[in-house]
């Protein structure tokens, strides 16, 4: 048993408790500093866990309640390199967010660092949890803290609405998860039916957290209004945690009874719809945070497709994708935060050309856009290459072009915003965009000057790590080997319950195929072209524009109308989504 395993959860939670108790007497600056140090310690320990768990899983049984004869009575943390990498991602983003939020909030002293620390601890706990009960408890803690952080700026209507939609929709999602856990635990007479119901409810619940279409409506509302430091964590990692849970639950629980061939098309369908709808909605936004929220949804779809392939390569791709994309989206959010702090605006048209005075934010924002556009040889490209090669062997050769199209839509929009804000390109008005919210929603409340490096260092660091992660030697090989350990269900169970170490296997070597390069080059060029289209759309010939308007106007208006901002509608969509998911699963499994 490794003493380090519980520390990524224990350190932030204990520090949060101590800050709550004594923080009042420490003064604001010291509180912030303590939070930063605790998060840095969490980061170091999570990183150590990645290396320590490289050869075999680290299993920590709470209170020493180890399984006897293969029956587990206690609850556990189970750590493999993929899980530890997610915890590292959480800590990295939190560190950047805390550094960035130095002198961001004026009022209510220690509340913010305490909430952030609890959020970090809960997300690490959720990532490391080895059983469903544990998973559920951390899920709830993570959710409740996220609601509170989203609604942090309660004096505006925007954060209120976002937090309420977030809380209600995700609560309903968590009830579904709880129902699913109950059905699994009960193992009632009609085993097959109970399995289908449990699978549907668990996957639907976690998709709500992840923000897959049609469970995604709350996400764009919440991320658009949450304070920037919170957005870094929400968009960077919390959404992906839902998908991470789906992958782990499928491979450890359901892979024995629900065959991959049956489930694959269903999940791929949800993933592709999410990727395309997210990218399309992204294009229609002018508010930068809401734009990045929809880019998150689009990315989530791509990660979901990787998981949905239900192969070793797909799982490995999702781990790489989740980490690199999370870092890049975090970097983009920090860049937006710099703009909000400096110009008191987060609106693309409003900021046109003004960003020239913040060049580092511009470079980071554009780099994040290019990374998300699958520019070879960076991280998202590698993840996409794994998906391309795996999909080809499975006979799903039509999936990679759709994914490339989604990358064109979302990354092209980010590049468009970068060109307009930091280059002053494009037109000053565009009637296609969703309206600007009436009141400016969020601004830093502490107006004193803050030293500039505190702002751009987190942004640059996140972007550099996100882009540079791919140069870790044999990253793909390690991801594949690690995914292989989770995919082999019986060996995984033997290892966790009986302590039988896995047979040592060398990391397979992997080099992307020519097709993968072709798709990535196409999507990068496509994203640049799409950015230019977004900027100079109205210079196209009138005939072309009329034809486009005839085809696209009604779907665009319909899609906009669906995102109504009313929580009742969102819950109705959630219920419909679960019904569709359950119906389709029942049909394909039969």
């Amino acid at each position: 048993m490794d003493v380090l395993v519980p520390l990524p959860v224990a350190i932030p939670l204990l520090t949060a408790a101590a800050l709550t108790a004594f923080g009042y007497w420490c003064g604001r600056r010291l509180d912030d500093l303590i939070a930063i140090v605790a998060t840095a310690a969490t980061l170091v320990i999570s990183l150590l866990l990645v290396f320590r768990s490289n050869d075999h899983d680290l299993v920590y049984w709470f209170g020493g309640w180890k399984p006897s004869n293969g029956v587990a009575l206690g609850i556990s943390f189970t750590v493999d390199p993929g899980v530890a990498a997610v915890a590292t991602l959480v800590a990295t983003l939190a560190l950047a967010a805390l550094v960035f939020s130095w002198r961001y909030f004026d009022e209510v002293g220690t509340l913010f660092p305490v909430l952030m620390l609890v959020f970090v601890g809960a997300m690490c706990g959720f990532a490391l949890a080895g059983d469903l009960f544990n998973l559920f408890v951390w899920f709830e803690l993570m959710s409740v803290v996220a609601y509170a952080l989203t609604g942090y700026g309660v004096e505006h209507a925007g954060p209120l609405e976002g937090a309420i939609n977030f809380a209600v929709t995700n609560s309903v999602g968590s009830f579904c998860i709880l129902f699913g856990i109950g059905f699994l635990y009960a193992r009632t007479g009609a085993l097959n039916l109970a399995q289908i119901v449990a699978f549907t409810l668990l996957v639907g619940g976690f998709m709500t957290k992840a923000g897959a279409v049609p469970f995604h409506f709350w996400l764009s509302d919440a991320y658009a209004v949450a304070p920037v430091p919170v957005c870094i964590l929400l968009a960077g990692v919390m959404s992906d945690l839902g998908l991470h849970a789906i992958a782990r639950i499928y491979w450890t629980v359901f892979s024995g009874t629900l065959s991959a061939g049956d489930i694959r098309p269903v999940l791929i369908g949800f993933g592709l719809v999410t990727a395309i709808v997210g990218g399309f909605m992204c294009f229609l936004q002018r508010d930068l945070k809401r734009m990045l929220a929809f880019a998150t949804i689009s990315n989530i779809g791509a990660v979901l497709v990787g998981i949905a392939l239900l192969t070793r390569s797909g799982l490995a791709s999702s781990i790489v994708y989740l980490n690199t994309n999370g870092l890049l989206r975090g970097a983009a959010f920090v860049a937006v935060g710099i703009l909000v702090r400096r110009f008191k605006s987060g609106d693309e048209l409003d900021l046109r050309g003004r960003g020239r005075r913040a060049p580092i934010a511009g470079v980071v924002f554009a780099a994040a856009g290019l990374g998300l556009a699958l520019l070879p040889p960076f991280g998202p490209f590698l993840a996409n290459a794994l998906v391309v090669d795996s999909a080809d062997t499975l006979g799903y050769g039509w999936v990679p072009p759709v994914l490339a199209l989604a990358a064109v839509l979302s990354a092209g929009t980010i590049l468009r915003a970068a060109a307009r804000i930091f280059g002053g390109l494009g037109e000053a008005k565009d009637p296609l965009f969703s309206h600007e919210p009436e009141e400016s929603q969020e601004e830093p409340t502490d107006t004193r000057r803050v030293s500039q490096p505190l702002l751009w260092i987190p942004a640059a660091a996140l972007a550099l790590v996100g882009l540079g992660l791919v140069f870790v030697p044999e990253l793909a090989g390690h991801a594949l080997r690690n995914a292989g350990r989770l995919v082999d269900r019986s060996a995984h169970a033997r290892e966790v319950l009986h302590g039988v170490p896995p047979s040592p296997a060398p990391a397979p070597s992997y080099s992307p195929s020519a097709a993968a390069y072709a798709y990535s080059v196409a999507s990068t060029l496509g994203a640049l072209a799409f950015a230019a289209f977004g900027l100079y759309r109205r210079r196209l010939p009138i005939v072309l524009r009329r034809a486009a308007a005839r085809v696209a106007d009604r779907p665009v208006a319909g899609l906009k109308a669906l995102h109504s901002g009313v929580v009742g509608d969102y819950v109705a969509w959630l219920t419909a989504g679960i019904a569709v998911l359950g119906g389709v699963v029942a049909v394909v499994v039969r």
């Binding site: 709830e140 609601y147 309903v172």
Partner: protein, 114 residues
């Protein structure tokens, strides 16, 4: 084991969801959410129920005494705690909505759209 508790849980869940979807007042919304959550208590407790089983306290009782399942009871307790937390948070947000946005109707409080 009877199917009645499962039917009851599903019924409470659906009634609660219907209430949330149709809600025009934040307080009503929070109550409906709590109602929906109570369906999970019914489900979990019925899963752990054992006929003629006592409370799961294994002190001073002979080995093999029938008892209900403590795991789901623990989960239900956790669930109740979560429910109270979420309800408190949402009610606090509702008070802020009344104060700043001067409305308790989710339809009127929606600056973000499209």
């Amino acid at each position: 084991m009877s199917y009645l508790p499962f039917v009851l849980a599903a019924w409470i869940f659906l009634v609660g969801i219907f209430g949330i979807v149709r809600s025009r007042h934040f307080i009503h919304l929070v109550v409906c959410l709590s109602l929906t959550q109570s369906s999970t208590y019914v489900l979990l407790l019925s899963i752990g129920y054992v006929k003629h089983g006592g409370a799961p306290i294994f002190k001073d009782v002979p080995l093999g005494t029938k008892a209900v399942d403590p795991v789901v009871q623990a989960l239900t307790l956790t669930d109740i705690v979560v429910s109270v937390t979420v309800a408190a948070l949402l009610l606090a947000l509702a008070i802020q909505a009344k104060k700043h946005a001067k409305t308790m109707n989710p339809d009127e409080l929606r600056p973000v759209r499209g």
